[in-house]
């Protein structure tokens, strides 16, 4: 078994808001091995972005993070000072954001921004830094790399900017890469190219990757393992084949029935739907978080904490008291 890059156990985030305490992330446990891609998938407000920010130690200052275990290559991060964390960020773990235009600083050139993590974390000379920056740009498929160093972010197209972001994230050879909706702002043809590049580089750098996304198509094509989040909890986790082949949580099944699939969902027919809205995460919540929107809800769904239970194969777990019914035919993969 490959070395575990990241091990997280019982990660919770609390944020005081007007009206009480918001619990956007509750008891999240996950692991990422070298060379593995874990996708965290869910809709807006499910806590997937805050999970990734809390791993990086980038939560808003009023938020409080708790974890029984949060280790990067065996090194515990939970008690680390802000100073120690900033030595790790951008160096041993780095992040790619959704909108490269807002995450690149418009006032600095591409070259300056690529050099920053190197200057912060290594003792390379200026020439070596420059060489490394050019090498990285070429590696992410940017032509005329040397001349791009003097350009500003606004002079690049969206796809190129995202390539620069990827180069920045990988320039210090991190052990863990967290990508938060890396292709959501891009056109579909560019999306395919960027996903290709990320998969290729991940193999080459042998890093662990966490991919945060709402796009079930991207997850299916990229992820080795999947964690489905709903209302702050992981409701189902397993390999991509398990999640898509034998979805066991009613929410996962509902999500999969919602998306039109060329060649599989019949045009003109109704798509599946999940009625209702995401519950408020302010205050404590009893029972299954999905109970109010679930078609199969039973009285016992509303009592106590629902634990994860084993599913169809090894590593497949889901948070539901009901026995998995056979997935409806229209959702079954071909």
């Amino acid at each position: 078994m490959a070395e575990q890059v990241l091990e997280v156990e019982g990660l919770s985030v609390d944020i005081p808001v007007t009206g009480g305490m918001l619990h956007p992330v509750q008891e999240v446990s996950l692991t990422v091995a070298r060379g593995e891609t874990l996708a965290i998938v869910g809709e807006s407000g499910c806590g997937k972005s805050l999970t990734s920010l809390s791993l990086m130690g980038l939560l808003p200052s009023r938020a409080e993070r708790r974890a029984r275990r949060l280790s990067l290559l065996g090194e515990e991060l939970a008690g680390k000072s802000e100073r120690a964390m900033s030595d790790i960020r951008g160096n041993r773990m780095s992040m790619i954001f959704q909108e490269p235009m807002t995450s690149l600083n418009p006032a600095y050139t591409i070259g300056d921004q690529l050099a920053e993590p190197l200057e912060r974390h290594t003792r390379l000379s200026r020439r070596e830094v420059r060489e490394r920056a050019v090498e990285m740009l070429e590696r992410v498929g940017i032509t005329a790399a040397a001349s791009r160093l003097g350009q500003y972010p606004h002079q690049l197209s969206g796809g190129l900017r995202q390539r620069v972001m990827i180069a920045m994230a990988l320039i210090c050879n991190p052990d863990l890469l967290i990508a938060d909706e890396p292709t959501t702002a891009l056109d579909v043809t560019i999306q395919a190219q960027i996903l290709h590049l990320m998969a290729e580089l991940q193999r080459e750098f042998h890093a662990g990757m966490i991919l945060i996304t709402h796009d079930l198509g991207v997850v299916a094509r990229v992820a080795d393992r999947v964690a489905v989040m709903y209302a702050g909890q992981i409701v189902e986790t397993g390999t991509a084949a398990q999640i898509y082949g034998a979805p066991s949580h009613p929410y996962t099944r509902g999500l999969l029935s919602c998306i039109p699939i060329p060649g599989r969902s019949r045009p003109g027919e109704h798509l599946g739907a999940i009625p209702g809205v995401v519950p408020s995460l302010i205050g404590r919540m009893e029972g299954c978080h999905f109970a109010d929107r679930c078609a199969l809800v039973e009285p016992r769904c509303r009592k106590g904490d629902i634990a994860l239970r084993d599913g169809s194969g090894s590593g497949h777990r889901y948070r539901c008291v009901l026995d998995p019914e056979t997935p409806a035919t229209q959702e079954a993969p071909a």
């Binding site: 944020i15 808001v17 918001l22 956007p24 807006s44 407000g45 499910c46 806590g47 997937k48 972005s49 805050l50 920010l53 980038l58 808003p60 954001f97 959704q98 909108e99 807002t102 938060d180 909706e181 209302a231 702050g232 809205v277 995401v278 408020s280 995460l281 302010i282």
Partner: protein, 303 residues
């Protein structure tokens, strides 16, 4: 940005309070807003009720009772008949202060209204129509910004003579620049929003779009600028009156009261301190109110 989205997204609920209810809640929780409002309402009430509460006629000169110090002074002359004393012409200082509040508020409010109309018209027109119209509006704004307000006011007043209405018009015609700049930026930002495009697609006239789609959304900034400009106008009036170019004696204006007392500054300092403190309180309360309004109406704009 992606960092804050999950928080608000999770908190999204169907039964969120209406914008007005949320604003009320924030207003009463905002110390600056409440303090500013209380002081301003107090001054406003005193100005309004001046004929009833003033102990004396502000113009009555009683020369054998001049320069009585306020009651808290340890002096044989101090008397409760003149709580704030009298000036060098024996006029009751409290009465003059109360009547002076009327002048300050009247000038501040009227000049602010005039400048609001001019500035909003220029700003909204430039921001909404863009292109050539905006170029012209921008030119007008730039021209105005290059004029020194006090110098122009002094020149005009000394040319046409000074009176209450002249001061109001001069100030109103000079201080609309901030209205124009802020309204132009706010309108431009709204111009690109889809609800404006939707109104155009529905076939609404331009007047309707400006009045009923854009104006309600720029009201917040308009009110905030209005408070700032009102304070600005009051201070300018005081300055002009101090220079003898504003309100003319014997009208009681706070700026004029300071001016009249300047010869006695070292002997009877309270003559300057009292109208000065009143001016300070009024401007402070208006600014507190304006700052509060900005926070109350658009909390998302706070950094």
């Amino acid at each position: 940005m992606a960092v804050t989205d999950p928080v608000t997204g999770a908190a999204e609920a169907v039964l969120a309070p209406s914008p007005a209810a949320r604003m009320r809640g924030r207003a009463f929780g905002h110390a600056g807003f409440v303090l500013g409002a209380v002081i301003l309402i107090g001054i406003f009430a005193m100005a309004l009720l001046a004929p009833m509460v003033a102990p004396h006629d502000p113009f009555d000169q009683v020369l054998d009772r001049k320069l009585i110090p306020p009651v808290w002074f340890d002096s044989a002359k101090a008397t409760w008949e003149h709580p704030l004393g009298t000036d060098q012409l024996g006029r009751d200082y409290l009465s003059r202060l109360l009547y002076g509040a009327r002048i300050s508020l009247l000038i501040g409010f009227a000049a602010m209204l005039i400048s609001m109309v001019i500035g909003t018209a220029i700003g909204v027109a430039g921001g909404y129509f863009g292109g050539r119209v905006d170029m012209v509006c921008n030119f007008i704004i730039t021209t105005r910004l290059s004029l020194p307000v006090v110098l122009v006011a002094i020149a005009v007043v000394s040319l046409v003579g000074s009176s209450l209405s002249v001061v109001i018009w001069v100030l109103g015609l000079l201080i609309w620049d901030r209205f124009a700049v802020v309204m132009r930026a706010a309108t431009m930002q709204l111009r690109g929003r889809d609800f404006v495009t939707a109104a155009e697609a529905i076939g609404c006239s331009r007047a309707r779009i400006i009045l009923s789609e854009i104006m309600p959304n720029v009201m917040n900034s308009l009110i905030v600028v209005a408070t700032v400009e009102m304070a600005h106008a009051i201070l300018l009036e005081a300055a002009l009156s101090f220079l003898g170019l504003g309100v003319q004696p014997p009208e009681p204006s706070w700026g004029l009261m300071i001016s009249e007392a300047k010869g006695l500054m070292f002997f009877d300092g309270w003559l300057i301190a009292i109208p000065g403190a009143a001016l300070f309180l009024l401007v402070l309360s208006i600014n507190l109110l304006g700052d509060g309004l900005r926070d109350v109406t658009a909390p998302e704009n706070r950094s």
